[in-house]
Amino acid sequence: MKQYSDLEFLKLSKGQKFLYKLRRFFVSIPLGIAHFFMKLWALLVQGVQALGRELKEIGGTFAHGDWKTKTSFFVMGFGNLARGQILRGILFLLFEIIFIGYMVLSGARWLGMLPTLGTEGPGKVYDEIYDVYVTSYNDNSFQILLYGVLTLFFIVAFIYTWRVNVRQNRMAEKILASGKPLKSGRDDLHSLVDDQFHKTLLALPVTGILIFTVLPIFFMILVAFTNYDGAHNGYTNALFTWVGLDNFNTMLSWDVTGGAGTQSYAATFGEVLIWTLIWAFFATFTNYFLGMFVAMAINKKGIRFKKGWRTILVLTIAIPQFISLLYVSKMFAKNGIINTTLLDLGLITKALPFWEEATWARVTVILINIWIGIPYLMLITTGILMNIPADLYESAKIDGASGWQQYRKITLPYMLFVTGPYLLTSFTGNMNNFNVIYLLTGGAPTNPAASSAAGTVGYTDLLITWLFKITMGAETQYYLASVIGILVFVVVALISLIVYNLLPSIKNEEDFR
């Protein structure tokens, strides 16, 4: 496709400019994908090269190191101890002893069972004393998977520590050879509140994230490849085991399995995904523009009680959402206050189906979400609106620009530029906006065609509420929940990737320093 220079581009008419940009965008998609894979390949090559360098360095350390260093390859921390760095030496040694002890006592067993997730399920055993059969519980798939993963994490940590141990020996040898003293244990402790202070500060938060976020996510990704559900809970009723890609095949297959009038999993998933995207789009942009509008209205010259209006709106942020959302959802119910009032006033003759019909319910949740979101957006935009240089408006006024033109040419571009990243996070946040949907409708009205799918899928269900219902429902198909979770991640990551590349500028965080 023909590429215009800047000057040629400026000569184009508005429509041509737009078409040109659009064409460029689509042409750049394959290029972008190719670029992505090239980057991936480059990363891979770099990784292999880095690994090669590491191995070479480790080998070199062993070949050229003295006997203290060589012993440290097998007894971690030996070099530190021998060179007088007692604290480091003890920590290294202690870690190695704990690791070996753990691996011998239980780690190896968990790892060995990981490929099968247990072989012996619960069974009946004859009890001679009482002359009855009692249930005996044997392998526990859940535990095997959990401890297997933990053991893998532990092994990685050990290899890393071992590598640090080797490098430290090399450094210590070098430092001693140049005639300088080594750091003492006291120096090490002091550095933890000084140049290494970040390690002290990060220890707690990062450990928390590792145990409560990384480990569970890793685990749940693995669950997507098993048949873990309520009927195979891995211990009390039946073991679960690896099933490969079966669950993804189920979720993404077009085969109808539920009988007449139902649809396939793929169709259900597609419907829910499309509604999730529509919802996220409207929830984000209605709030954004209306919030901005309210902020501008309050900011306008000559408006009185500015603080009072803001306080009223901010007040509504304070009240826990579940109270307001649950109450509002009952207000819109068939016999709720809104329908009754409208009926009493004679404006309608029969109750409006706010929650009973798909389209009504979808529009209503978006409208109520505006009610939830405007105060927050009003706050955010007020601050930015006040930052727009006033002289821009002054000169626009002198040039005779109308209020709408000022908004189009000054306010909106400025706002979009500043809030671009916020809009993206807000969009993905809305895709996973559990509270508003679940507390308002719980997903209702039910989608009869999707009734064969796990959970009760409704017309206002987002992927995230569907996932929740699967894990809480009568048959808890955890493996399907995991599949949905992974697919949500893929969609969110894709959108973020595309939007980040389209944003006018990815702000450099060091810029303003």
């Binding site: 938060p205 009240i319 559990f434 507390l439 995991s482 979770g485 991640f489």
Partner: protein, 289 residues
């Protein structure tokens, strides 16, 4: 001034007066719409006649029955659960978030960018997914059902380091030269933090405490998982949600309203007192990301 320009000025003034009146009316309408549900909840909580939903707002008979009935249910227990969880979470989450954000704002170390990127990616997984495993692990540790509060607190605070954006944005605005001057004078990194940065950070500390305290009051998902199947371990959100079930609503609707008022009033009062800090935090940091 010629007559025509006078006329134009008059025209401008009247048109501005009209548009300002229109905006005032609009703002009044908005305020009413935004406040109506809350007014309704308060009014309904005082309704004595009937316990289910009704089609009118102003009670025919006023009284405190719904409030006194609350104390015959598990509501005080739920309230205490939520309050304890909120209090403990406020303390620890603040510490963790501040550690994380301060480090990422002030230090330049090798793992900094990878760490931020990893947290960004982790944030794209639905958090609810990890609840399935956390529930089972916490259950083995005896921190679920009736004993849900410690488990709940653990879940709230453990991963809170990922919510560092707002306070990092704040720390970024404190000039690095302050740190450097103190370092030249011989202060350690730790001293820089608690002698120089923390005294300057009162707004963001209060903002973090406030949001951390308010989080547990509104949490439904995690509390639902962890208190699964029991009443004693619920928090207010789960407890009150269940009162609006199809089979309970006719019995407990007005009690939901009175319970909602009891939950909302303290939180709202606290929020309004510290409103200034909340607004500062949101406008200062939320957008920068």
């Amino acid at each position: 001034m010629s007559e025509s320009t006078m006329k134009r000025h008059m025209g401008l003034r009247t048109s501005r007066a009209i548009s300002n009146t229109a905006i005032h009316i609009l703002l009044i309408v908005i305020s009413v719409v935004w406040l109506i549900p809350f007014v309704c909840i308060v009014l309904q909580s005082f309704r004595v006649e009937g316990t289910g939903p009704v089609g009118y707002i102003i009670p025919k008979q006023w009284g405190l029955d719904n409030y006194s009935r609350l104390f015959e249910t598990d509501f005080p227990r739920w309230y205490l659960n939520t309050f304890i969880a909120a209090l403990v979470t406020a303390v620890f989450q603040t510490i963790i978030v501040l550690c994380m954000s301060y480090t990422l704002s002030r230090f330049r170390f090798k793992m900094r960018r990878p760490l931020m990127r990893i947290m960004l990616i982790l944030g794209m997984f639905p958090g609810m997914l990890s609840m399935i495993i956390l529930y089972r692990v916490l259950k083995d540790l005896g921190m679920t059902q009736a004993n849900a509060v410690p488990g709940l607190i653990l879940v709230y605070i453990a991963s809170s380091g990922m919510g560092y954006y707002v306070s990092k944005g704040f720390f970024d605005t404190i000039p690095m030269s302050l740190d450097e001057a103190a370092r030249v004078d011989g202060a350690t990194r730790a001293q820089v933090l608690y002698k120089i940065i923390l005294p300057l950070s009162k707004p963001i500390v209060i903002y973090t405490i406030l949001t951390a305290f308010m989080g547990p009051w509104g949490d439904y998902v995690f509390a639902r998982y962890i208190s699964f199947g029991t009443s004693a371990g619920k928090n207010v959100a789960v407890g009150l949600y269940d009162w609006l079930n199809k089979d309970q609503i006719s019995k407990n609707y007005t009690m939901f309203c009175s319970g909602g008022v009891l939950v909302a009033v303290p939180v709202t009062v606290l929020f309004m007192c510290l409103q200034r800090y909340y607004v500062e935090g949101v406008t200062g940091g939320a957008v920068k990301g």
